[in-house]
């Protein structure tokens, strides 16, 4: 810049460079978020934007649907999946960067009822026969549904409970069946019924982790965001203390 003798020109050029620099710094990344992680991610994304200047644009939905969209060229930069199988598949198929994969949250399963005092602290209500419906997310599609079925298996209750199961397509819908009172109770994610570490309403039994396989929720950077600074920053941010505090307050562990 030695040849820019004129101080005005020089400062203009510097300002221009600074602008370009800012643009490169304040990036944007679109994130496909598993439905069960909706509430914590909204908080985290707001903090992320405040703390780093980067913007995370969020889409919420079922992991299986996101996979179909990603495989068909959807411009998502990051997938926060509800499981660990989908990110693994994405890495294997070259749709994302396998090296970026990590578990951002471990989900907790809860048996929940809208009625206070309906679900006891040990889930004994499952053995009773005086209720009509229990809502479970489709085990083929939703990790929480699979964990619920594993739990029933482990308790030896599958045959007895099966005729009374109604399926939600995802845990959002499963929650709705119980929240509207049409099903007496439901197996849902603790994150859906918890706020600040407490049940928002009704009664629940947090299913012990040894009754089902761990619900690992993995994140992965997808092809469209390779080299995207905002994407790298968000993956980093999700591991930070601030984000983890939010994640924990919604009933997830690590």
């Amino acid at each position: 810049m030695a040849h820019l003798k004129n101080p005005i020109l020089r400062s203009l050029a510097l300002a221009g460079l600074a602008l370009i620099g800012l643009q490169a710094q304040a990036g944007e990344v679109s994130v496909a978020v598993a439905a069960n992680f909706t509430a914590p991610m909204q908080k985290i994304a707001a903090d992320f934007e405040k703390d780093t200047g980067h913007k995370a644009v969020l889409s919420f939905g079922a992991t299986g649907k996101f996979y179909a969209q990603i495989a068909n060229g959807a411009p998502f930069g990051i997938l926060l999946a509800a499981d660990d199988a989908t990110p693994a598949k994405i890495a294997k198929e070259g749709l994302g960067d396998g090296a970026t994969r990590f578990t951002y949250a471990i989900g907790q399963l809860v048996l929940w009822s809208k009625q206070a005092g309906y679900v006891d602290a040990e889930g004994k209500v499952l053995h009773k026969t005086d209720w009509q419906h229990i809502a479970v997310a489709n085990p083929k599609l939703a990790p929480y549904g699979l964990a619920a079925m594993q739990t029933l298996d482990k308790l030896g209750l599958t045959a007895q409970v099966q005729p009374r199961i109604v399926q939600g397509e995802n845990i959002g819908q499963t929650y709705q069946f119980a929240a509207s009172g049409n099903a007496e109770m439901a197996f849902v994610a603790l994150s859906q019924v918890t706020e600040n570490g407490k049940l928002r309403e009704g009664s629940g039994w947090v299913v012990p982790a040894n009754l089902h396989e761990t619900i690992r929720q993995d994140a992965i950077v997808l092809k469209p965001a390779q080299g995207n600074e905002a994407a790298t920053a968000l993956m980093q941010y999700l591991r930070g203390d601030k984000a983890r505090a939010v994640i924990q307050s919604y009933g997830y562990s690590f």
Binding site: G64, A68, N138, V166
Partner: protein, 226 residues
């Protein structure tokens, strides 16, 4: 070569049962309603017509959500069905029928209404002069003349119910053989990344829908060529 699984067949059978039941009920229920809409001068004609058309513009998830809530233990329909000893409707076949009746209502009412409106007063007046009573006029003159309207109403109601997804998803609980219809089964296949099975059913739906619309075209009386 993979083709339909037993679950797929169960879904297909259930879907056809649901569509047939819904269509039959709609034709019976909508005939008097369409007749009234076509002939009344009441100031309620506009509002009733708008309510009938609502399912055309509302997202099915809205219909399904409200039905789920109103049919639930705290909803008015839920109270009514429980009081009548029918139990609650969500997660049952009759519940899906009620949902489908609402969802496909305009597809039955509107063609019938058009058909009745286009009858004009002359044929009915002539029948009256010949001594036919109101019921007689309706069954022997109006209904036969409105036949194309009934064909359209039946075909559209049937096809629209087959294509129903959002309402069933909200109300059904995805129970095999009871509430898992073809559209939900396709959704499940796609979500589970079973694309081959999804293609079989989805392709079947495309062919079916095309044939239905072609049938509608063939069944309509043609305008006589000059």
């Amino acid at each position: 070569m993979p083709s339909f699984s037993p679950e797929d067949w169960a879904a297909i059978r259930l879907t056809l049962e649901l569509a047939a039941t819904t269509t039959a009920l709609l034709l019976v229920l909508c005939t008097p309603l369409a007749w009234w809409l076509a002939r009344t001068r009441s100031r309620w004609r506009g509002p009733v017509g708008a309510v009938v058309a609502l399912p055309l513009v509302l997202p099915p998830t809205v219909i399904g959500f409200y039905l789920l809530v109103t049919m639930g233990p705290n909803g008015p329909i839920g109270h009514l069905t429980t009081a009548l000893g029918l139990g609650r409707l969500p997660f049952t076949f009759p519940g899906l029928v009620v949902g489908s009746l609402v969802y496909s209502l305009p597809f039955a009412v509107q063609p019938l209404q058009r058909a009745f409106e286009s009858l004009g007063p002359r044929a009915l007046e002539a029948a009256a002069t010949l001594g036919a009573g109101p019921l007689d006029r309706f069954f022997t003159v109006a209904l036969p003349l409105a036949r194309p309207g009934f064909v359209t109403a039946a075909v559209l109601s049937f096809a629209h119910t087959v294509g129903e997804f959002g309402v069933v998803l909200m109300l059904g609980g995805n129970i095999p053989g009871v509430t898992r219809v073809v559209s939900v089964q396709i959704y499940d296949h796609v979500e589970a990344m079973e694309y081959t099975q999804a293609h079989w059913l989805a392709g079947g739906m495309v062919v079916f829908s095309f044939l239905v619309l072609m049938a509608l075209h063939w069944l309509q009386p043609r305008e006589p060529r000059p």
